[in-house]
């Protein structure tokens, strides 16, 4: 069992399918280009399932979670290579002035072909079978991982206020309990 949280690996990641969906229609004809409405309308006639042709790409990803048992899946972020950023943008990312792009220190991510940033809004769900776990490309330290989690929550507007409040209430309750 691997513990991939905070680590970077090569993975095979599909792009999210978007309309027009290319639906496989056998070897004799080209795929059908179908809209969301057409597929939803077809669903009203039963429970049909189709094979959509989805582009996939091998890319490094930063894994945010441990394996979600029993599904053997993780949440991960896509990365942005520095060669696609201007010199000024690179510097802003290195100085953590871009909240949505988390800088991956080259020294800690020596397995990556070049300097990268994790795109905190670009979440993907990846089955562990699609991750090349035999070779780790780098790892975040605990503090960096906390910051990335915080930024992912902020980027996606996750409502964690009640969770934090409940944790605080439990902590207060424990502190108020008489000691041994």
């Amino acid at each position: 069992m691997i513990a991939p949280q905070g680590r970077c690996y090569w993975a095979v990641v599909p792009f999210s399918p978007a309309q027009p969906f290319r639906i496989y229609a056998g070897t004799e004809r080209a795929p059908l280009a179908v809209t969301t409405t057409a597929i939803v309308n077809a669903a009203r006639k039963g429970d049909p399932q189709f094979d959509a042709i989805v582009p996939v790409k091998a890319r490094p990803v930063l894994v945010l979670t441990e394996l979600l048992a029993p599904f053997d899946e993780v949440l991960a972020l896509r990365l942005r290579t520095f060669d696609k950023l201007s010199a000024a943008e690179q510097q802003r990312v290195r100085e953590h002035q871009e909240d949505a792009l988390f800088h991956l220190e080259p020294a800690a991510f020596a397995g990556l072909p070049q300097e990268n940033a994790a795109i905190v809004s670009a979440l993907v769900r990846v089955p562990v079978g699609a991750i090349a776990t035999e070779r780790e490309l780098g790892t975040l330290n605990e503090n960096e991982l906390r910051v990335v989690h915080e930024r992912v929550a902020r980027a996606h507007g996750l409502r964690l206020d009640m969770l934090a409040l409940e944790q605080a209430q439990q902590l207060i309750k424990r502190l108020q309990e008489p000691g041994p």
């Binding site: 582009p55 942005r80 943008e89 915080e150 929550a153 507007g157 409040l165």
Partner: protein, 91 residues
């Protein structure tokens, strides 16, 4: 917290002073609590204050962040040439 309004003639409510809660028990289990209105409003205001203090501020996406997300989430040209695919993956 949602509040359910119940007419006063539908339930028997004890006289409660501020700072005192009445716990309604049944078979040793807590069923409900009744509070003086001042306490209820103070507690709900505190809860709202805590929730507001703990709410996370959204990230503002710069142009470079938006472009990075869009570009890395948009497929480029896929390889579909059979000879090229065979050269990459073999038989």
């Amino acid at each position: 917290m949602d509040t359910v309004r119940i007419p006063g003639d539908r339930v028997r409510v004890p006289n409660l002073r501020p700072g005192t809660a009445a716990a309604v028990h049944r078979y040793d289990k807590e069923r409900a609590f009744m509070l003086h209105p001042d306490d209820f409003h103070r507690l709900t205001a505190l809860e709202e204050l805590a929730a507001a203090a703990l709410a996370i501020s959204p990230i503002e996406f710069s142009e470079v962040a938006v472009e990075a997300h869009r570009d890395e989430s948009t497929p480029g040209q896929s390889i579909i040439d059979p000879d090229e695919l065979l050269a990459l993956f073999g038989e």
